[in-house]
Amino acid sequence: MGVLDRTVPAAEPVAEAPSLVTRLHGWVVTVDHKRLGIMYIVSGILFLLVAGSMATTIRLQLVVPNNHLVPPQVFNRLMTMHGTTMIFLVAIPILFGFGNYLIPLMLGARDLAFPRLNAFGFWLFLFGALLLYFSYLAGDGLSGAGSAPDVGWFAYAPLTERPFSRGSSTDYWILGIALAGIGTTATAINLLATAASMRCRGMTLGRMPLFVWLMLTSSAQLLIALPPLTAAQVMLLLDRFLGAHFFDTQAGGSAVLWQHFFWLFGHPEVYVLVLPAFGIASEIIPVFSRKPIFGYPVMVAASVGIGLISISVWAHHMFAVGMSPAANSFFIASSFMVAVPTGIKIFNWLATMWGGKIRFTTPMLFCIAFLFQFLCAGLTGVMLAVAPFNWQLTDSYFVVAHFHYVIVGAIVFNIFAGIYYWFPKMTGRMMSERLGRWHFWLMVIGFNLTFGPQHIAGMLGMPRRIYTYEAGRGWEIWNQLSTLGALFQAAAILVFAWNAIVSLRRGAVAGNDPWDAWTLEWSTTSPPPEYNFATLPEVRSRRPLWDLKHPDDPDGPYE
């Protein structure tokens, strides 16, 4: 098999470099999964900077009691837009952007199954995102009482109904997110169809990289979980514009129904986000431990299991709503059930590193921090699954701490790991290890300093989504530490942005396979040509490049 030996000869040099307009035009009309993947990731990072500044403002407002940095109306918009942006416009695009970029390469294909649908999905997502932000300018509506949405990212009814939410701000929330969601749905269908019908020869489902498995599970979950949100949003829109009564409690409608629909989406959504993050870790940890992933079949089974079980746990967000003890018990049981495969994965990663030769490169550092932080997040999740304990902890800063340990501690850290790991493949240049370490340590310190103390503030009775608090409740020190951590995180992000920009220009040339890795994307050039592979590969194991590098000891017989 001489796929790696043969390269397509470089094209004849162009007479003159294409103009900026031509190059931009190329990006705008592209259907190339690699370019669209990069566009998703870059958009996500830009929104990360925006939502991160919102978070910093929130932390500055809360650093001392009775603060007047921002009035309550502005604070409520900040916290709504921070949450909405981070979930829908940062995490989803970056993770699906990675999926977009990597899946065809990892499967030995030339592009996704539906390249034009891919482009459509991206531009629809971007349109929805900009529509949401347009609310800052135009949310006033006809009654002059709007601006950006301020109802919280979960937009509970009936606060979102016309009488309690004047102006058009809620309408922008609905439309922006619904449109972005349709774009993401299109991408999810695309990824699943690609894995079904475009794997290269020999790439059975059991030989796909774990990242692909996790991305597919995430996509399938999204197909089940996003429609409840879109449906609920359609219902809310009908309530607000056509006088329907879905969530109109004055006419017999049910506020709890919104919560059920929302969390039917909301819980699987967080697994939609965390599974690709797990996938990134499952690619990076083996390479930098110099061992294959421990227990691939169980990892696949656990991932799919998590995907399925997570659809049955939604009402653990609603333990305080007043459901019957029987209903509460069901959700206690299902929430604990999902903890088992999740815990197993941590052990598998640990066993992958065990007995290996661990190299502490920047991507690996972020993955290691992820392991510790996700362990914390999982354990605080176990606490929250115990309904009576949940009755104290829910809607307090304890929950804020828990989910930030998942979303930042697990997901964002893995995103950074993935960026450091695949940046060389995408751009042909290595990121700076020195700046990477600064980024890492500032981020670890800042992140834990911000969200660790919030567990305590929550246990001392501090509720969520409050723009200020009285002195003397014992919350001051925890808020001060939390804000200090935010400043560290802001510095970390700036270092990262600087690293990315500088490395694009002056990073060391990467070559095809700078990390000595084993999956197919490392078999082609960095960056890959538009057609990905000169000849489509044929694989005989889960680690095709291991087989090539160790022809005397291939993986196949051991799997």
Partner: protein, 367 residues
């Protein structure tokens, strides 16, 4: 009820903070605000000797908070042990299996899995999960399915944007923002049962030292119970985002010894005190739109949109905890509530200064 004033000068408060962090003060936009509610320092003496503590869920003052704490400590212990073991293994692994500087460059043994190991670390978590699940379910039933004893006090709680209404149907008392209930002897429990309803959007009733939170949802009736074992004042606040002033929808639960509670009920049942010196103010109150929202029993005012003011001065705070209930704050509030609670639904009443003085002295007479 006398006005309760703290006798300890609070160590926290805006002035104190400003004094400590002058450089930070400008940066974070601190401005001086006036006469905020007395900061709840850990041990503030009240005139009647009760103590006001913080709101820690680990300082329960009765049922069901104590049962929740017991369960929580059990869960914390188990998760703590798991954290130490798994975290310890991770640290050990990172140290033991790091690549040494004198590494020979060969790949380590490639291990693909191990059935016995994987079985073990599946079975053990399943056992732990089983124990925690059954414990949690049992506790859930014990708390939620507890049947109300026949002589328990029934209180109807109505959540509003952004204040709490408390009705005692059997006792003929309606009040706001402060829930007064009798203490409950653990040997012979006399719990208070709360019916939770909302007049507008979703809220949540949370007093951490007494019980877990229960949501207050329109078009839905939720029920919870409190059986505090120690008298005192316990602070809580709304725990479901309900709009602009969600942050200042505080509530206080004042737990009385039994005979003390009876005295409180008696005092609250009385119609509004008639003070001849406050006649002018009463007339202003009844002539302007105040009566369309507020009720003062014994007069013509019977509005239900805003808090019942019959015994306004028996309460510690105004604006559901937005400010201490004293004359200066009361004046500020009536003149323009937005100053103390921006976005509040009560409008500024556009009274002249003399009218304002009269109304405030009328309100101050509603003991």
């Amino acid at each position: 009820m006398k006005l309760m004033r703290p006798m300890v000068i609070p160590p926290f408060g805006e002035e104190a903070t400003l004094a400590r962090l002058p450089c930070l003060a400008w940066f974070v936009g601190l401005r001086r605000a006036r006469r905020l509610p007395p900061p709840l320092t850990p041990c503030t003496e009240h005139a009647n000797g009760d103590h006001v503590h913080g709101a820690s869920i680990f300082a329960p003052a009765g049922a069901p908070a104590d049962a929740i704490q017991t369960l929580s400590l059990f869960v914390l212990a188990i998760t703590g042990i798991i954290f130490v073991i798994v975290g310890g293994l991770m640290v050990y692994c990172l140290v033991r299996y790091r690549r040494r500087s004198d590494d020979d460059g060969r790949e380590p043994p490639q291990v693909y899995g191990s059935n016995p190991v994987e079985l073990a670390w599946t079975v053990v978590p399943i056992i732990i999960v089983f124990v925690l699940t059954t414990t949690a379910i049992r506790s859930t039933y014990e708390i939620q399915a507890a049947p109300p004893p026949p002589d328990s006090l029934q209180v109807r709680v109505v959540g509003h944007q952004w204040w709490w209404e408390f009705q005692y149907p059997a006792l003929g008392v309606i009040t706001a923002n402060e829930l007064h209930i009798p203490v409950s002897d653990p040997a012979h429990p006399t719990p208070t049962y709360l019916t939770l309803e909302s007049a507008d959007v979703a809220h949540s009733f949370w007093v951490p030292r007494l019980a877990g939170k229960t949501d207050v949802i329109p078009n839905r009736r939720n029920i919870m119970w409190l059986a505090p074992a120690q008298s005192g004042t316990y602070v809580g606040q709304c725990a479901e985002f309900c709009g602009t002033q969600h942050a200042k929808m505080l509530l206080r639960v004042v737990v009385h010894p039994a005979d003390d509670f009876a005295r409180w009920v008696q005092a609250q049942r009385q119609p509004a005190a008639r003070n001849p010196g406050a006649e002018a103010g009463r007339q202003v109150f009844e002539a302007t739109a105040c009566v369309s929202c507020h009720a003062v029993r014994g007069t013509g005012a019977s509005g239900t949109f805003g808090p019942d003011l019959t015994h306004l001065m028996s309460r510690e705070t105004i604006g559901a905890g937005a400010a201490q209930n004293d004359l200066a704050n009361l004046r500020d509030w009536v003149e323009d509530p937005n100053r103390l609670k921006p976005g509040v639904l009560m409008p500024a009443m556009q009274l002249t200064q003399p009218q304002l003085d009269q109304v405030v002295s009328y309100l101050a007479s509603l003991r």
